[in-house]
């Protein structure tokens, strides 16, 4: 009776899951593999600030259609704010305003950006005006000497810019540059200074700020480069390499020296930019081909969520997959692990650190923590304070590791901070108890088991194809659920049990 019930349930789950999947894949033409049908990015600016119960005005630079990128669609999301956009000096600016606002305010700007191929060259007939760089006193003298120096060592505008950038990015800048830069040695400041120095040299230049159009970045950093006007067109230079031209995925957002966003009547202003490559385009192609009349299904798909949330679900939807794997590894293979779902969480943490680093960092932190835990054993502490002490040590160890690896130039170390610390602490505690009660071999066996399971789960969860399939066809998880339910009725031997009871088979044959 129970069995029939289970089979019926599993069968209907499979039918629903596979049915939806086949309908979406075959009839609606959803892409089965993460192909990039056309390059469209969802770009989002997320602004938050605290309004002070006064009139509020927020201005944000927004991208405009340029030679390589076109804005297909854009919208502004805000509650109660009036919105105007204006184009000024080659920049577009959006302005939100409201008579009175109080408390935390959140504004969004969202745009779809498509890469375009234009043959049109950017020839300008009229050279742009040069803004007065406004150097004074010793700064003026330093600039003049610098300009004279680089001019002497260059043949034309191109070599002049290269020479200047080379000097700016040197780790030991000469006296003039050190004076002009002061303490602010960020790339954006170097670009700003370069623009002013070039203005002093009589060469029109401007700072450009933009982002990289990546597959996915929830917190896309602002990139800075510069453009100079030479031979009747603007030419870009990468300030870090000093070479002309910037990578093709750099999208300019605004030009000039002003900040991205400014607010009047509010404080604690924060702005983040995010970008993700859109899969929907292929989906939309399926709709446009007229195979579906009302895209109701799409309105309720994960694609309708904001970019931020979509990125979270890309990861979250992999968790059931990890859990399914865990069921197989524990109930069919018989691997022992610490905690039931801890390996899946470790596997998620590995996504941040990559596998090899993850395993090394995890082993190091757990190993050191274990040593300290065994030392604390001598102090005869009660359990909760002891656990808390281990947590302290784990956090400090992770901070130390991050600093050390950063100093060594290994950026990977920084991402260890995203490791779930409480999980590490609990692992250390569980492991040390098993160590004392059941011996080192049992503890190492379970620790190794957890790591192996986490590694396998990580390897499977990071296959791009699988990530894509699960995100585009979440209904396939129903099929997986059916599998999990069926495994709940797997009463056969576990693989490692065969090894355990081997003596029995030998003794009787």
């Amino acid at each position: 009776m129970n069995r029939v019930h289970l089979y019926l349930l599993a069968f209907s789950l499979i039918v629903i899951g596979l049915g939806l999947f086949l309908y979406k894949a075959l009839v609606l033409g959803f892409p089965l593999s993460p192909q990039k049908v056309s390059e469209i990015w969802n770009v989002e600016a997320h602004i938050s600030f605290i309004a002070k119960n006064k009139p509020v005005k927020v201005s944000l630079f927004i991208p405009r259609t340029v030679r390589r990128f076109a804005i297909v669609n854009e919208n502004f999301i805000s509650q109660g704010f009036g919105i105007t956009t204006a184009t000024e000096g080659g920049n577009r600016q959006a302005e939100w305003s409201i008579r009175k606002a109080k408390g935390k305010q959140i504004l969004y700007y969202r745009a779809e950006i498509r890469r375009i191929e234009t043959k049109e060259s950017g020839i300008l007939v009229k050279p742009p005006e040069i803004e007065d760089p406004k150097f004074e006193g010793p700064y003026l003298a330093a600039t003049q000497s610098l300009v004279a120096d680089i001019r002497a060592r260059s043949a034309d505008a191109d070599t002049l810019v290269k020479e200047l950038l080379k000097r700016l990015t040197k780790s030991q800048p000469d006296d003039n540059i050190a004076l002009l830069l002061g303490k602010q040695t960020s790339i954006s400041n170097k670009v700003r200074l370069a623009v002013r120095v070039l203005a002093q040299a009589g060469l029109p230049a401007r700072a450009v700020h933009g982002i990289r159009l990546e597959d996915e970045n929830q917190n896309a950093p602002l990139l800075h480069w510069m453009e100079i006007y030479d031979e009747k067109q603007w030419r870009a230079y990468d300030p870090i390499t000093g070479e002309p031209g910037v990578p093709p995925d750099y999208m300019p957002w605004w030009r000039g020296t002003q900040p991205l966003v400014q607010v009047k009547g509010g404080d604690r202003l924060q702005a983040t930019l995010s970008v993700n490559l859109k899969q929907e385009e292929a989906v939309r192609a399926a709709i446009q081909s007229g195979k579906i009349k009302s895209p109701l299904l799409l309105d309720f798909s994960l694609f309708s969520l904001p970019v931020h949330t979509q990125a979270i679900y890309r990861v979250l939807l992999l968790v059931p997959l990890g859990a399914f794997l865990l069921v197989i590894l524990r109930n069919v293979i018989g691997i022992k692990t610490f905690g039931t779902f801890m390996p899946v969480l470790i596997a998620l943490a590995f996504r941040e650190t990559q596998l090899l680093w993850g395993i090394i960092l995890f082993s190091v932190v757990v190993g050191l923590g274990l040593t300290i835990r065994l030392y604390l054993e001598h102090l005869k502490l009660l359990v909760v304070p002891r656990l808390a002490s281990v947590l302290f040590v784990v956090v400090l160890l992770m901070a130390l590791l991050s600093v050390l690896t950063h100093k060594l130039g290994l950026e990977r170390g920084l991402s260890v901070a995203l490791f779930p610390m409480v999980i590490i602490t609990m692992t250390i505690e569980r492991m040390s108890i098993v160590w004392e009660e059941r011996g080192a071999s049992e503890a190492l066996q379970q620790g190794l088991g957890s790591l192996v399971v986490a590694a396998i789960a990580y390897l499977i969860m990071t296959i791009g194809y699988i990530e894509h399939i699960v995100f585009v066809f979440p209904e396939l998880l129903l099929v997986l659920l059916a599998g999990t339910l069926m495994l709940g009725r797997y009463y056969g031997y576990r693989l490692l049990e065969l090894h355990r009871f081997k003596a029995l088979a030998k003794g009787n044959t």
């Binding site: 018989g334 009660l382 359990v383 009660e437 797997y490 003596a503 029995l504 009787n508």
Partner: protein, 315 residues
């Protein structure tokens, strides 16, 4: 691999998945688990039913009661401290002697009052208990092993595990501590397991670390063919535990005390599967036989008689 699986299936080996699904999940209602998971409750239950258990010296339930420990222990020089919710023998401390404030553990290591208090506090914090909930520390009589079994064990107390299915003893083994197991009677810690013929109560071949041995690795005494004294009484004692808890599938751990005879040490709602190695036979045929016939069996006597009739060693 598949031939191995088929061989094991032919023997009727019970695997962990099947044990969980078809026996513990089906025959052991969850609401009865606290009866056996809390050793203090088991002990009280058994005492009320007139079943012999090791005498209870005292219980520590709250941290401040640790101060009363010297008072509880005043008249006892040897005793056992164990977590009421412990599993797998974790957290059990055996004190075999004392000199005022200095206690000697069964393995000869000395500990002072402070260390003993710390152990008790660790138990109270629930670190040894299933799920980590706060626990109680039970202090009880230390069993003096029967000399007959003492010669075939090394330190520690050998215990006899009986698997009870619907009140019928289906399989049994004696677990003998070794030097390697540090006086504990857990097979995976290196204790020796010897199957027991349910009909006669004599030990069969022994298993040590997945291999079959004829004598105790530390004492050199033969472990095969030892007759357990008072076997039928012991089986009846075990069989009575079915009424006690109502659990259909349980493991009963019995110790043979020199003076007090068989005592129920603890009951287990999820008994391990190693007993099949010690007996070199599978549980499934026996469990099936009981499942088919248990309705006709009334009372402890009939169930024990049924077991002795059908579960004699085939060797």
């Amino acid at each position: 691999m598949f031939t191995l699986a088929r061989q094991l299936a032919d023997i009727g080996l019970l695997g962990l998945n099947r044990r969980n699904a078809e026996y513990t999940l089906r025959y052991n209602p969850r609401n009865l688990y606290p009866l056996v998971d809390d050793k203090l409750r088991t002990k009280k239950l058994a005492q009320d039913a007139g079943i012999a258990v090791p005498e209870l010296y005292g219980v520590v339930e709250k941290e401040y009661q640790v101060r009363d420990l010297p008072e509880i222990l005043k008249h006892h020089s040897d005793f056992v401290v164990k977590p009421s919710h412990g599993s797998g023998g974790d957290g059990i401390l055996i004190i075999s002697g004392r000199l005022k404030e200095v206690y000697r553990k069964a393995n000869g290591v000395l500990m002072n009052q402070g260390e003993l208090n710390h152990h008790v506090l660790t138990i109270l914090s629930g670190i040894f208990s299933l799920g980590g909930q706060p626990d109680k520390a039970v202090i009880e009589y230390r069993v003096q092993p029967d000399p007959l079994l003492e010669v075939i064990s090394y330190q520690g107390v050998p215990d006899i595990r009986v698997i009870l299915f619907l009140g019928v003893p289906v399989m049994s083994m004696v677990r003998l501590p070794t030097r390697m197991s540090g006086g504990r009677a857990n097979l995976h810690q290196g204790a020796l397991g010897a199957g027991i013929d349910i009909r006669t109560g004599t030990t069969l071949t022994a298993v040590w670390r997945n291999g079959i041995v004829g004598e105790h690795p530390d004492t050199g005494n033969a472990v095969m063919g030892v007759k357990i004294p008072n076997w039928e009484a012991l089986l009846r004692l075990a069989a009575r535990c079915y009424q006690l808890t109502g659990l259909g599938y349980q493991g009963v751990d019995i110790v043979l005390d020199k003076d007090k005879g068989p005592l129920i040490l603890e009951l287990n709602a999820r008994p391990g599967l190693n007993i099949q190695i010690a007996n070199r036979s599978g549980l499934l045929p026996r469990l099936n036989l009981v499942e088919q016939n248990h309705k006709g069996l009334n009372g402890v006597e009939e169930r024990v008689a049924f077991a002795q009739e059908h579960f004699g060693a085939s060797v």
